[in-house]
Subunit: 323 residues, 4 copies
C-alpha cells in the first residue's frame, strides 16, 4: 500500500483533528502518502482530496471540530454514489481508507469494501461513547467535561436561588454522558434511557429531599430519555411540587466543540496510529479501539450489532452520593 | 455608624461574593461590625442575620453564585413586610445597608429609606450591564466571557458541518452581552433590541453571504429581541433558505455562574469598599459605580430612571468584521 | 463498625474533596458515623476530629485542594506519636480509617495497624499516578490536563517567535505526567526517568529537525529527570545550538490545584465508596483501586513494593507524532 | 492609499490575531488591499509579504499567538536595513503600515517614517499594559486572567498545606499585571516596582498575620521588582520566619499565550479598525488607543516618552482586602 485516504464522518467530536494528525504523521513515518478526503463520503464522491504532509497537521492537536469537515451523504447510500467514490479513489491512486466516525460511517465503509474491495480501518470518533469495541470513543471525555463545567456553573445559580434545575445533556440513546455528569456534578437524580426512571419516581425523590430541607437540586436528563424531553419533565415536576422554583437548561451543541482533553488527545493519537498500522498489515472492516488499556481491532459487524453495556454500579453511586 | 448589613438580591451574578468579601473586609478595616443578611429582603424580614468577620469570607473571591443567597420577596413590596424588616434591623442594631443587586433591589431600598430612614448604598450586581451610573456591572464581564467560550465551541461544530447556528445569549432588554459576543465570536449577524433588525434583513444578509460561498454562520440573538425568540428566527430563516443547515443553541443559565474574571473581581472589590466608605460618609440612596475609570456615586433615582446607551459604533463593527 | 475517620495526607491532589465527599455520603448511606481528621496524621495525634454529615460535603465535589487539609507528621513516625494517635481515636470511638494519599501515607497506616489494630483502607490520592494497584490515581487526570493547558499556551508563543521551549512538568520519579503532555501537547521530545535519554540525544534530534526547517520546538522534561534539571538541559542545548532561541517554563504547583476533571471526580467517588464498603467488610491494609475498569483491593505491601510500569508504546508514539 | 501592510512585532500577546483580522476585514471593507508582513521588521526587510483576504483571517479571532509571527530585528536598527525594508515595500506597492506592538515597534516605525516617508499607525499589542495613550493594551486582560487562574490553583494547595507561596507574574517594569492578580487572587501582599516595598516590610506583614493565626499566604511579586527576584525574596523571608513553609511559582510564559478574553477581542477589533481608518485619513506616527471608552490617536512620541501612572488606590485595596 502506497497511498491512503483519511476522512471524518458523522457528528464531529473533539479529538478528531488529533486523530487525523496521528494518521498523517504515522503515514509519513511509515513511508505512505496520505490524502485528506474532505466532508466524508460526500467529498469522496466529488474527489475532494488534499495531499497532507507532516506540516499540514501542525498545531491541530488541540483544535476542536475537524479540519477535514464532516457531512452526511445521501448519495453514498446509493450504489451509483459508491461507484463514483470508487472511481475517484482509483483515479487518485488511493488504496486504503481510515474512517474516523461512528456506526453510520462504518456501515458505509463495510458495504463499500464488499462491493469495491477498498479496505477501511475505522477509529471511533463520536462524543456518545456508544460504540462496542472500545472503552471510550474519541471526544467522549471532552464532551463530559464540557457538560460538567456547565453544570458546575448552574450549581452556582441553583444554590444561590434555591432552585431545581433540569439539565439536558447529549448522548443519543445512552446515559454515557449523563451518568458521570450526575456523579461529578453533584446531581440528585439522573434520568437515562437505560433505567427508564419514571417522572413519578423523580417527583417522589424530590419531595423526600424537600422534606429533609434540601432546597436546591440538579436533575440530569439524557437527551434520549424515554419519558419525553427535559421541558416536559420539568413541567410535570412543577405541577406536582408547585413550591419548587424550576428551571431548564439544555447544554446542547457546545458539547461537540472545544479543545480536546488530554485523554481524548492521547486516545485519538493511539487509535490514529493503530488504524494506519492495521491498514498496512492488511486489515479491513475493523475499528481500532482500546479495551482495558489494550489495543483491539473489532470487526465493523460487531461494533454495529453488539451493544456496549453501561456499568450498572454507576447508577447506584448516584443514589449513594445524593444521600 | 457601628453595625452594617450586606445582602445580595435579584438574579445572582459572578463577583457578588468578591463584593461581599470587600464589604466585610472594608468594614473590619474601618472598625465596623458587618452582618450578612441571607436571601435579600426575604431574609431581612425574617431576621436571617449572620455575623461576618474577615475569615468568614476567606477563599470566596473566586466563587460564583452568592454565599448570602438571593431571593425575590413579595412581602417586602408591602408596607407590612418592610415594617417587619425594619423591626428586625433595629433589633439587631443594624444601622446601614449595602445592597448588591440591580434596579429592583435599589427601588426597594429607596422606598425603605424614605419610610424608615435606614440608609442604603448600592453596588451594581447583575450580568446584564443595564444600569445607569457605571460603565460595567459586577458579573457582566464574566457572563460575556462564558457566552463567548460557548460560542467558540459552537463555531468548531458550525465550521465542521457548514451549518448556521442561532445562538441566544442573555441580556434582558439590551444587547450588552450579545454585541461583544458577536464581535469576539466572529458572528455574521447580531440581533439586539436596540436595533430592531428584521428577520427579513437577517435572511438577506445570509443569502448574500451564501452566494459569496460562505458556508458556516453564527447569528447571535439577544434574549429580549423583539422579533420573537431564537427558535422562531431560526425557523423563518430555514423556510426562506432551505439549503441552510440550521441549529439553535440557548446559552442560558450557565452565563450566571462560574468563577468571576479578573475584571469582575477587581470591580466588585472596588465597589464593595466604596459602598462601605460611602455609607460611613453619610451617603444613602446611591449606587457606587465606575465611570471612565473614576469612582462615582449615582442616586438610585438616576440608576432607575436613566437609560445607559450602548456604543453605536459596536454595531458598525459587526458589519465590518463579517465582511 | 459504627464510627470511622477519614483523612487526606501527603501532597494534595484535585479530587481529594470528591473522595472525602464520597466517603462521608457512603458512610451516611450505610449508617456509619463519619469523622473528618484534620491535617492527616498530625491532626490524628492532636485529636482534631470533626463530625461530618451529608451537608458538610455539599458543594465540595468540584473544589481543588482538600477541605481536611494535609500535613507531614514527623511525630507519627515515632512509636510515641502513634500511641497518642491511637489514644485519640479510642477516645473518640473511631474504629476504622480511610486514608486518602500515597505510599508514605499507606506505610504509616500499615505500621499503625500492626501495632494498634486500627484498620485502614486507602484510596490513591496523588497527582503522580505512581501507585501500583490502580490504573489511575485521584488527581492525575486533572494534573495532566492542567499541564497540557499550560503547554497549549506556550505553543502559541513558541510558534509566534520560532522558539524552543523546555517545559518541566511534575511527576516525581516517573514520566506519567510528562508523556501524555508530550503526546497531547505536540512536543518534539520528552525526557523521562524511565528512558534516561541523554542531552546529547536531545541535541541531535533538535539539530535534525532544525535542518528540516522546523523552527519552533517543545521539549517536555519530567521533574525527576536524571540528566539534571530543566535549566541545565536548556543551557546545554543552547551551548550546542546557539541559533536556537531557548526558553524555560516550570509548570510547577499549579498542577496540584484546580477543579478536578470529570474522570477524577468519578474515580474519587468510586474509590471513596469502595473504601468505606471495604472497611465495613473487614478489610484492612489495602488500597481500593480500579484496574482495567474493575474495582480491586491491593495490599499496602504491594502498592508500596511493586512498581507500576509505564506503557512503552507511548514512548514510540512521541517519536512517530513528531515526524 | 491602495495597499497597506500589517505586522506584529515585539513580544506576542493574546488578541494580536483578532487585531490582524480587524485590520484585514476593515481594509477589505474600505476597498484596500492588505498584505501581511511576516516576522515584523525582519520580514519587511526580506519582503516576506502575504496577500490577505477576508477568508485568510477566518477562525483566527480566538487564537493566541500571532499568525504573522513576531521577531526582533537587529538589522532594522541600521539605516541599511531600513533602506532594504523601504525597497521591499515600494517594490510591493505597499503605501502604509499598521504596526501591532509596543514602544520598541513604534520607535522603529517613527524613525522609518522620518527617513522614508512610509506612514505607520500603531495598535498597542503587549501584555504589559505599560503604554501611554490607551487605558488597556491588547493582551493585558488575557494575561491577567491567565495569571489569576494559576493563582486560584495555587491557593488550593497553599490552603491545603498551610503554606506561603511567592508567585511571580510578568509585567516588565510595572505592577499592572501584579496588582489585579493580588486583589483578585486574595493575596496578602503585592510587591511591585512602583512602591518599592522592602523585603523587611514583607516579613513584618507576614509575621503580624502569622500571629493572628493566619496560616496560608500568597505574595505576588512583579517580575521587574527591585528587591531582586522571587527566589531571593522567598529565601530571605524563610530565613526570617523559619516556621513558614515557603514555595515559589513563576507563572512565566503561559501568560503570553491562550485564547484572548472577550475584552481583548473587542479592544483588538476596535483598534484594528481604527488603525486602518486612521491611516486612510492621512494619519502617521500615532497609536490608536481607548481612553475612558473613547477612541484616541496618540503620537508615538507621547506613547514612548510619557509614562502611564498606575491607580494608587489599588495599592490601598490590597491592604484593606487582606485585613
Amino acid at each position: 500500500m502506497k497511498r491512503i485516504g483519511v476522512f471524518t464522518s458523522g457528528g464531529d467530536a473533539p479529538g478528531m483533528n488529533a486523530c487525523v494528525r496521528a494518521v498523517v504523521r504515522a503515514g509519513v513515518y511509515h513511508g505512505l502518502e496520505v490524502y485528506g478526503i474532505m466532508r466524508g463520503y460526500s467529498g469522496m464522491i466529488k474527489g475532494e482530496f488534499v495531499r497532507m504532509d507532516s506540516a499540514s497537521v501542525s498545531n491541530t492537536v488541540q483544535r476542536g471540530g475537524t479540519i477535514l469537515k464532516s457531512a452526511r451523504s445521501q448519495k453514498f447510500m446509493t450504489k451509483e454514489g459508491r461507484q463514483q467514490a470508487f472511481d475517484q479513489l482509483v483515479n487518485a491512486g488511493i488504496e486504503g481508507l481510515i474512517a474516523i466516525g461512528g456506526n453510520g460511517t462504518f456501515t458505509g465503509a463495510s458495504i463499500f469494501e464488499h462491493e469495491f474491495g477498498i479496505p477501511t480501518v475505522g477509529a471511533p470518533g463520536t462524543i456518545d461513547n456508544d460504540l462496542y469495541g472500545t472503552d471510550y470513543t474519541i471526544g467522549y471525555d471532552t464532551a463530559v467535561n464540557t457538560a460538567l463545567e456547565a453544570i458546575d456553573k448552574i450549581r452556582d445559580t441553583a444554590d444561590s436561588h434555591d432552585r431545581c434545575f433540569f439539565v439536558e445533556v447529549m448522548g443519543r440513546d445512552s446515559g454515557y454522558i449523563a451518568i458521570p455528569c450526575a456523579i461529578g456534578g453533584g446531581a440528585e437524580i439522573v434520568m437515562v434511557p437505560e433505567t427508564a426512571m419514571s417522572v413519578e419516581a423523580v417527583i417522589e425523590t424530590l419531595q423526600n429531599s424537600w422534606t429533609r430541607s434540601k432546597t436546591s437540586f440538579i436533575v440530569i436528563v439524557a437527551e434520549g430519555e424515554e419519558e419525553g424531553n427535559v421541558h416536559n419533565v420539568a413541567k410535570r415536576v412543577k405541577e406536582a411540587i408547585p413550591q419548587l422554583d424550576t428551571r431548564v437548561t439544555i447544554v446542547g451543541h457546545i458539547q461537540r466543540g472545544g479543545s480536546p482533553t488530554a485523554a481524548d488527545r492521547l486516545l485519538a493519537s493511539q487509535l490514529g496510529i493503530a488504524a494506519v498500522e492495521g491498514l498496512m498489515n492488511g486489515m479491513k472492516n475493523v475499528m481500532a479501539g482500546i479495551v482495558d488499556r489494550k489495543l483491539m481491532y473489532t470487526p465493523f459487524d460487531d461494533t454495529i450489532n453488539k451493544r456496549k453495556v453501561i456499568n450498572q454500579s454507576f447508577m447506584r453511586m448516584v443514589e449513594i452520593l445524593s444521600v
